[in-house]
Amino acid sequence: MRKSHPVRRVVLATAATVSGVVLLLSLKPASDPAAASAAGAAPPVSAAGQESPQGGARAGSGTVTGDAEQTQYGAVQVRLTVSAGKITKAEAVQAPKGGLSDQKTQLAVPRLNQAAVAAQSARIDTVSGATYTSDGYKKSLQSALDKMKPAASGSAGSASGSSGSASGPAGSAQARTVTGQAAQTQYGPVQVRITVSAGKITKAEAVQAPKGGLSDQKTQLAIPKLNQAAVAAGSADIDAVSGATYTSTGYRQSLQSALDQAGG
């Protein structure tokens, strides 16, 4: 039965909580130090931000866009990147948005994209919790596959042609930079530029990334990590940064296109 001091307790609890939270917040660096050092002296994103995207040429691949399929929550439309008759990339150019849909899209579309590339057909599993989106996706994917047959030969031709041109200074160990296509995400385009030396990625950087509001934070969070991961993996097979799924997905797409161009 120690004497209770309600006021003292309230003051103590408040002070302890506030100082604890402030301490935790102040211990966090302004930018991710690990990623920054690994990416080397990567120039700030804004410095290269105005570089024109090389999107026009569609070097190394052809794309086929399926029909937009209406679902209860919005349209789903799939675009495939085809190389030598194979699906090398699948992406959703339209997907349900707003409220809960954002989240379901975020959850389902990357998985569906992956499944489409793996299956090379529209026979892919429905993502649980996103049935409508999955169904729409599969239909749009099928329509893209249907369109692919006539388009495939042409794109395959162009693929070989451009890959030849991209590897112009063939065999040279000289470092060169390749800029991938800008990948559209819900929050803005992501575009990756890589520096390749002796067939290896020595540097990866984002020349475009989502900006404004929450996006600034997510970009700041995700891009250094993604740069680091790209260098480490040497491929577009890198993990999404948690909390920045859209940016990560866009990054991977653009990185893949840069790698396609680099002939790697």
Binding site: L25, P29, A30, L100, Q103, S242
Partner: protein, 460 residues
Amino acid sequence: MTTTLAGGRAARRQTMRRIRPRRSPAVPLLLAVWAGAVAVLWLWWHNTPSIADDTGRILNAGRITGLLAGYLMALVVLQMARVPALERRVGSDRVARWHAMSGRYTLSLIVAHVFLTMWGYARQAGKSLGDIVQQTIDSVEQLPDMGKAAIGTGLFVVIGLSSIGGIRRRLPYDAWYHVHLLTYAAVFLTFWHQITTGNDFAVEPAAKTFWYGLYGAVTALVVWYRVLTPIRLNVRHRMRVEAVVEETPGIVSVLIGGRKLHRMGAEAGQFFRWRFLAPGMRFSSHPYSLSAAPRPGMLRITVKAIGDHSTRLRELTPGTRVWAEGPYGALTAQRRSRGKVLLVAGGVGITPMRALFETLPGAAGDITLLYRANTTQDLALWDELSAIAEERGARLMYAVNSPEGERPDISAENLQRKVPDIDRHDVFMCGPPGFAQSVYEALRGAGVPARRIHHESFEM
């Protein structure tokens, strides 16, 4: 002389063999709670590589407060789940104080979480602090499960307001209690936005599993101990009012009969929450201590008429069905660590002391009861106490006001004079808060260590 001494020792050993002090699990439980809080903070730390600017700091402060509030909310409910380890080992009174304290703290965290998060979002959208209301409305409309969360938060605020001292005292107990039951709805409503909009749960499946596990476990405990256990108890024992006896003016005993009542596991010093299925009484349950050790066919409570409910008890008719939940309370023989025991009762606080006085194991002279009341007429159960004292060779003392109304002086010196070896006693105490506080201080002054003063106090 030697034989007496040897006999005394043998008897003492006999007694000590029956004293098995059990430590309260409060310390390990509190450590577990802190460890959980650290884990929750680690989750945030792990998922946050950097914070860019002040907006980021505000939003992250919102996340930290939200995560902690979500964690504590589960514990606040758990504290009222009537888990035996808490009710019987830590003590219902202490757990109720924890509940009140952590409830207030959690509500403060919720308010801070809402404010910080909405302020951060407003700043992110380039708006000022003044637009926080509009930002909140937008977020509730657009983000998943936020409508539910907003209703739940509103309920929390109402529940919090109804529990503020001044307001609670003005509310009828039943009204306050039923408002408080809305906590379950509020927790349910606010749970979902944590999972769907919480960054840490969206990206960390393990965290989501942990959160579901935490809330699932608390739900299971609440259903088991607040719903199923009481149903089983009452179906098995089928209690009814046998008789109502007036002990002294204003104090009545209610005798309750039923089947196999000795199998309820109730110990002297414990209480049940009683609900009498009589008109006007069936919707509220009240905690009353057993005033006698449970017997196979009979339980007894002794109650002083201070509130609506306790006043109505005298009008109970024999045969009234009784719905009881319990036994609860940790003021039992398990707290004892010494051979000698001093019981201190203030007014109607005699009820658990009376039961302990009868049942605490001990040789002649080991047990002493000090009974404080306003007048000798207010010494309820005095005849029984005298009989027990006679039979066991226990000491019975009382302290009442002088005829002029002067209060007796229960000071350290007086206690030491009356009970010379008081510092070698365990003290069990039950009485009104002011009385308990002053006796506690006197006992400490007389050299009784705090860990051997056992009391139950239901004032928060």
